[in-house]
């Protein structure tokens, strides 16, 4: 599924949950407010009943018509309240009972009033002792019934008030728990969904990142295995396409390099060989001028060959194609061989090369040919850039984890700017130097490539122009295979 949809669904689910939560809270709040209304009504009824009681007592005491009117108004409004209350099914029966008693109260009251008025209208002769006695007895019965009923209505109204109050409290409590549960489950649900969604997005992203990093480190055959059909899946398959293309291009480049090397070097073979045949006297003796000329041809042929080889080397280093042939070797020996090879050229410039190396050098696991090339390179540079009569010192020492080789010269030195760019391919301080001193400008970057591919480091120092230079490279002891002989 596309990430867009995943996120959309995630949001949608959250929204639905929020709406559900809102509706639930709204509904329960409504329930509470209904309960609250019921309770208020019950309270009002209680008040009404209480007031009716007061009016009843007042009327019985004073027999005023004013009270009668008040009773009627109050009773009527109380009845309206009683009609309103009882929406909650649980209270219906209770309310019906109260209503019946409430009506009865009024009936009795009206009867009492009627009775009283009847008593008043009795004429002297009608008001015989017997009749009077009857009326009084009736009155007493009605009053006592009135009082009982009024009492019972009061206590019923109070009970209703208490009941509705409890119901309201219960509803509030229920609402609180329900809301809490809803919020909790909402939280858990959205968390779970978010985690699932983000995992389904992040996991392939991490895979992608891993693959891209690997690819970036030069493993061009890296492919990503992502099955998902979302944007990341598309990205992955685009990446795979790109990787395949790059791999093809890389192969094409390698093929091109091989062909180019072949084509560039092939014409050099007859140049070099014929020069050697001429110089070797195979075609007869040469005079001095002829010899010089042929030597120049041979020398430049060699230089061209070096250039082609160096370009190939640097290309291999850059594309990390370099394959070291590692074996145990005596670094001290390699260095002293290199120094010996340089001696004749150095002597021609009256440059002294000295070599000092530590006694306890262990055998190192290195590519002899490549390290020897590094050494030749550094010595060649030092001798090349040191004026006649100068000196070149080679020092080999052992540190805790490395063997360190330093080549110091009293040569032309260099400024800070030059130091910085020294190991970049085709860099020589300026083209004037190339003309004056020769060289391909690739030696140091190749040396760096070889040292680095051994896990070592190379660096240069100089106090400034005219103050000599020092080149140092290290090779780690770590790869040392040296074991006690069996």
């Amino acid at each position: 599924m596309r990430i867009q949809y995943k996120l959309f669904i995630n949001t949608l689910v959250s929204l639905v949950l929020i709406s559900f939560l809102y509706v639930s809270v709204f509904t329960t709040t409504n329930i509470i407010s209904d309960q609250e209304k019921e309770h208020v009504l019950a309270s009002d009824i209680q008040t009404a009943v209480f007031e009716l009681n007061l009016l009843l007592n007042e009327y019985l005491l004073h027999r005023e018509d004013r009270v009668l009117e008040q009773w009627n108004t109050r009773h009527h409004s109380g009845l309206l309240l009683l009609n309103k209350i009882g929406t909650d099914n649980r209270n219906q029966d209770f309310v019906r009972d109260i209503r019946a008693e409430y009506l009865l109260l009024d009936d009795l009251f009206q009867k009492e009033v009627e009775n009283y008025h009847y008593e008043l209208t009795l004429t002297e002769e009608q008001a015989s002792a017997e009749t009077l006695g009857l009326v009084t007895a009736l009155q007493e019965r009605i009053i006592s019934q009135l009082l009982i009923t009024s009492q019972s209505v009061s206590s019923a109204a109070q009970s209703l008030e208490e009941l509705t109050y409890e119901q309201t409290q219960a509803a509030i409590e229920q609402n609180r728990i329900l809301t809490l549960l809803l919020v909790l489950s909402f939280f858990v649900l959205t968390t779970i969904i978010s985690v699932i969604v983000s995992r389904s997005i992040v996991k392939p992203l991490l895979n992608l990142e891993k693959a891209v990093t690997k690819f970036g480190k030069g493993k061009l055959d890296t492919k990503i295995d992502i099955q998902s059909k979302d944007e990341i899946g598309h990205l992955a398959s685009s990446f795979n396409d790109m990787a395949t293309k790059l791999e093809e291009l890389n192969k094409l480049k390698d093929d091109f390099l091989n062909t180019a090397t072949h084509e560039l070097k092939t014409p050099l073979i007859p140049i070099k060989s014929q020069a050697q045949l001429l110089l070797g006297g195979d075609y007869g003796k040469l005079n001095k001028k002829q010899k010089n000329a042929i030597e120049m041809i041979a020398r430049n042929g060699d230089h061209l060959n070096d250039l082609v080889s160096d370009v190939l080397s640097i290309t291999k280093i850059r594309s990390r194609k370099i394959r070291l042939i590692l074996e145990e070797a005596d670094l001290g020996q390699i260095i002293s061989d290199a120094v010996n090879d340089m001696q004749s050229i150095a002597r021609n410039k009256q440059i002294d090369i000295t070599l000092s190396h530590a006694e306890n050098l262990p055998l190192l696991v290195i590519d002899t040919k490549r390290i020897s090339e590094v050494m030749h390179n550094l010595l060649d540079n030092s001798v090349k850039f040191t004026p006649e009569g100068g000196r070149v010192d080679v020092d080999v020492s052992r540190t805790q984890n490395n063997v360190r080789v330093t080549v110091t010269d009293t040569g032309i030195g260099m400024d800070k700017k030059t130091l910085k760019k020294l190991f970049t391919p085709f860099f020589q301080a300026d083209s004037e130097i190339t003309r004056r001193y020769g060289g391909t400008g690739l030696g140091l970057s190749i040396a760096k490539g070889f040292v680095v591919s051994h896990g070592g480091k190379i660096s240069a120092k100089s106090a400034g122009l005219g103050k000599g230079s020092a080149f140092t490279f290290t090779l780690p002891l770590k790869k040392n295979l040296h074991k006690p002989t069996k």
Partner: protein, 124 residues
Amino acid sequence: MPKAKKRILHVDDERDVLEVVKTILENEGYEVVSVSSGDRALKEVDVNNFDLLLLDIMMPDMSGWDLFSRISKIKPKYKVIFLTVLEISDERLDKLKQHGIMDYITKPFERDELVSRVKKVIAS
């Protein structure tokens, strides 16, 4: 009667290379047959015997590798030196040695190197 000259077959698509190698090795007393394509080399091998094959690797019609494997089918016991501008990894060389390849020389070569390698392989 002096010993019969050792015969060398040199295959390379570059005529100039063929010529200098021929000159160098003939000056050392070898008999050199130079051909410029794999097909011609196969014909030569078919009718003549040689003490050593010098094969170029990158040739337009048939690469040195192909030529070598086809020659091996005709006469498996040949001594062979590859002359190539490409570096051959030691690993690959070990494998080749099992099939009779004795050595390889990277071009451009030093005259002395060519002579000493050829001498060594023929003597082996």
